[in-house]
């Protein structure tokens, strides 16, 4: 990959108020005012619950929807004051809804990305063809160009849509939940691809997602939208400030900032004494917590569990009322513990 000169660009939202039917009688404000900023070659993840206004914000930034107040600025130019074709050379957009066009080939779709750059009849010169192939190459879909859209898998189709945005050759790409319809491996592939594009092609990429732990992994910046406020910062900044837990109203879920995952808060009502092999301790504790036991017991506990290792596989020796049982899988043990609970250990 040759190094291309990366020009410095910025997207700045100033006191932006987003909503529907801007300027009409039934104007409906969804969110705002908000002020945010993003710079060149950044990956920005927009996070928030359904209905909080993520899509509206993205559509407003992409210029697809008028804002109620405030400005969206690209390099200090108000994008709403730019002619549509100039805006289309600066910001491209990939929507959530899948595109189905009968008899359309992947290559034809990507070629449409050149629209803002071509003339009245959409003739493609060699430069255009070069950009189209470049986009296909960056997204790794050269082999799919001749395929019809309905022959593609969801993941492949999403890559084609991203390639189309790349062919549009804009410094900023806005994507609305690009991983929404995808299976887990494809999700990671797409996010990996987006992350590559910020680094290799110097794109500023802004996308919404529900996958918080992935966003924390890959984003240069997170915009976290809650009902009332929007928080901006590197994922680590937000971790330090502890804002992620604001996504939930519930007190039975906590955000573990070490592993960056959400977990249920459980209140165990039984205790066991857990001893033995350290290697499997963590995993055993997790299983015990799930069925309502805590491993913080002492010698007086009625239940003792000892983890052993036989032929490099773990097994669990459980002792209760001097009766000893051995389990070879976690599942068997949890089934037994649940039964114990029902029969009242005490």
């Amino acid at each position: 990959m040759q190094h291309q000169e990366i020009k410095y660009h910025s997207v700045r939202l100033q006191n932006l108020e987003i909503g529907y039917d801007a300027g009409r009688k039934n104007e409906h404000k969804v969110f705002g005012p908000l002020s945010l900023e993003s710079n060149t070659a950044e990956m920005v993840c927009l996070i928030g619950r359904n209905g909080v206004g993520k899509s509206t914000l993205l559509r407003t930034i992409a210029g697809l929807q008028a804002q109620i107040a405030g400005k969206v600025c690209f390099d200090n130019m108000d994008i709403n004051k730019l002619p549509a074709s100039d805006r289309a050379k600066r910001i491209s957009y990939v929507s959530t809804e899948p595109v189905h066009v009968s008899q359309m080939k992947a290559g034809e779709l990507i070629a449409l990305g050149r629209t803002p750059h071509t003339g009245w009849f959409g003739r493609l010169s060699d430069t255009h063809l070069y950009k189209i192939h470049k986009a296909a190459e960056l997204t790794g879909i050269h082999s799919l160009l001749q395929k019809h859209l309905h022959e593609l898998s969801d993941g492949e189709r999403q890559k084609v849509m991203i390639a189309r945005a790349l062919a549009q050759d804009t410094p900023v790409i806005v994507l609305d939940e690009p991983t929404a319809f995808l299976d887990l491996p494809s999700r990671y592939e797409i996010v990996q691809l987006l992350s590559d594009l910020t680094m290799k092609a110097g794109k500023t990429i802004l996308f919404s997602t529900h996958d918080l732990s992935m966003a924390i992994d890959v984003a240069d910046k997170i915009w976290l939208m809650t009902d009332k406020e929007i928080y901006e910062g590197a994922p680590e900044d937000l971790l330090i400030n502890g804002v992620f837990r604001k996504l939930f109203d519930s007190s039975s879920i906590e955000f573990d900032s070490k592993t960056s995952v959400f977990r249920f808060i459980r209140k165990p009502d039984n205790t066991v004494l857990l001893t033995g092999e350290k290697k499997f301790r963590m995993i055993t504790v997790k299983a015990l917590e799930r069925v309502g036991f805590t491993a913080e017991g002492n010698e007086n506990c009625k239940i003792n569990i000892h983890i052993k290792e036989e032929n490099s596989r773990p097994c669990w020796e459980l002792e209760i009322n001097k009766i000893r049982r051995t389990f070879h899988t976690v599942y068997d043990m949890t089934v037994f513990l649940k039964k114990l609970k029902d029969h009242d250990i005490n």
């Binding site: 559509r59 992409a62 210029g63 697809l64 002619p83 549509a84 074709s85 100039d86 805006r87 289309a88 050379k89 910001i91 491209s92 957009y93 929507s95 809804e97 595109v99 189905h100 066009v101 009968s102 008899q103 359309m104 080939k105 992947a106 290559g107 034809e108 779709l109 070629a111 449409l112 990305g113 629209t115 803002p116 071509t118 009245w120 009849f121 959409g122 493609l124 060699d126 063809l129 070069y130 189209i132 192939h133 160009l145 001749q146 019809h148 309905h150 549009q168």
Partner: protein
């Protein structure tokens, strides 16, 4: 640059060219056979002789060819072209494989326009409106009617995005237009009514030379507008969001396309009556044959295919050898409906246009 243009997806170029050649040949064959078919048998060389100004033939043959068969063949070509393109445009704008001038109620709107003029100012038209004024009035009424329904359907489609709802709305508007037409018929006198009934069965053979000229001008304008919108139509198929994000002025595109559709389907309906199923079926045949979604290819392909299909329908409608003529309407329905059924069945797998 390691990448050559030929590796771009567009190009089954060879296949496309061959298909166009084959279609053109079929087209020419059909034009000739359409000229030959009729109650009177006229040898092929005499037909050519008459068309190219050779005066050796007898007068009745001359009249049959130059006053009846040539205008009828030209009408079939113009109408087939116009209806197919208007179908392609509707399917693109509404992103709906089942859209077409007749399905969306546009033809019904055009009929309403014609009915208002014909039944309202009937005396004008009983004289078979042989003057330019009458022809233009009739076309203007049809186009206005078509445009009116189109705008109604568009207004609904802006509020309701569900494709099925839009189709149903189109059908409802169409029915409403037909109902008004029925009321007009009820209050009309017999002679006017008869002219209207004949019109409403659809005929390619009833155009006067003046009407044919007027229709040719309208279809020409419609086609010119269409070529103006090739690029926009390609992008519109991806939907509103993508079109906007690529800098397409959607309202402008819609206005041009609707203008074109109204003129195309309106002018055909004005003189030939409502001819169904060409508009909805032919674009699908074109897509299927040329295996592309690019309008640059689909527009000329639909034009050719549309002419071919309507010429075929015209030939079939004359029931060669029998001396009776069926309304061309019925033939296009019987030819077109299987295609539409096929599209509906296919659509379960492929979805959308």
């Amino acid at each position: 640059m390691s990448i050559s243009g030929s590796s771009l997806p567009h190009n089954d170029r060879k296949r496309t060219i061959i298909l166009f050649l084959v279609l053109t040949m079929i087209f020419l064959m059909f034009v000739i056979s359409d000229l030959m078919i009729g109650p009177v048998n006229i040898p092929l060389n005499k037909i050519f002789g008459i068309i190219f100004g050779n005066t050796s033939s007898n007068d009745s043959w001359k009249t049959i060819i130059s006053d009846f068969r040539v205008p009828k063949t030209l009408t079939a070509i113009l109408a087939g072209t116009a209806l197919s393109i208007s179908g392609l445009q509707m399917q693109t704008v509404f992103r709906n494989p089942l859209a077409g001038p007749d399905v969306l109620g546009i033809s019904a709107g055009a009929s309403l326009g014609v009915a208002l003029v014909m039944l309202g100012f009937g005396d004008f038209f009983i004289t078979r409106n042989l003057n330019y004024l009458g022809s233009w009035t009739q076309i203007a009424a049809a186009c206005t009617g078509a445009c009116f329904v189109l705008i109604l359907v568009l207004l609904v489609s802006v509020r309701i995005r569900d494709i099925l709802t839009i189709l149903i709305m189109g059908i409802l508007f169409g029915s409403a237009a037909s109902a008004i037409v029925n009321i007009l018929q009820y209050f009309s006198n017999q002679s006017v009514l008869k002219v209207f009934m004949v019109w409403s069965m659809g005929s390619l053979a009833s155009l006067s030379a003046i009407q044919l000229r007027v229709m040719a001008v309208c279809v020409g304008v419609g086609i010119a507008l269409t070529f103006f919108t090739v690029k926009m139509m390609d992008v519109l198929m991806l939907g509103e969001n993508y079109s906007k994000s690529m800098g397409i002025n959607i309202n402008f595109a819609r206005v041009i396309i609707f203008l074109s559709t109204s003129i195309l389907s309106g002018s055909v309906t004005a003189f030939c009556g409502p001819i169904g199923f060409i508009g909805i079926a032919v674009p699908h045949l074109a897509r299927f044959m040329f295996r592309t979604s690019r309008n640059k290819i689909l527009i000329p392909a639909s034009m050719l295919l549309g002419s071919v299909v309507l010429l075929l329908a015209d030939m079939v409608s004359q029931l060669p050898g029998s001396g009776t003529i069926l309304p061309v309407n019925t033939v296009t329905a019987l030819l077109g409906i299987p295609v539409v059924v096929w599209v509906v069945v296919q659509n379960r797998k492929v979805a959308n246009v």
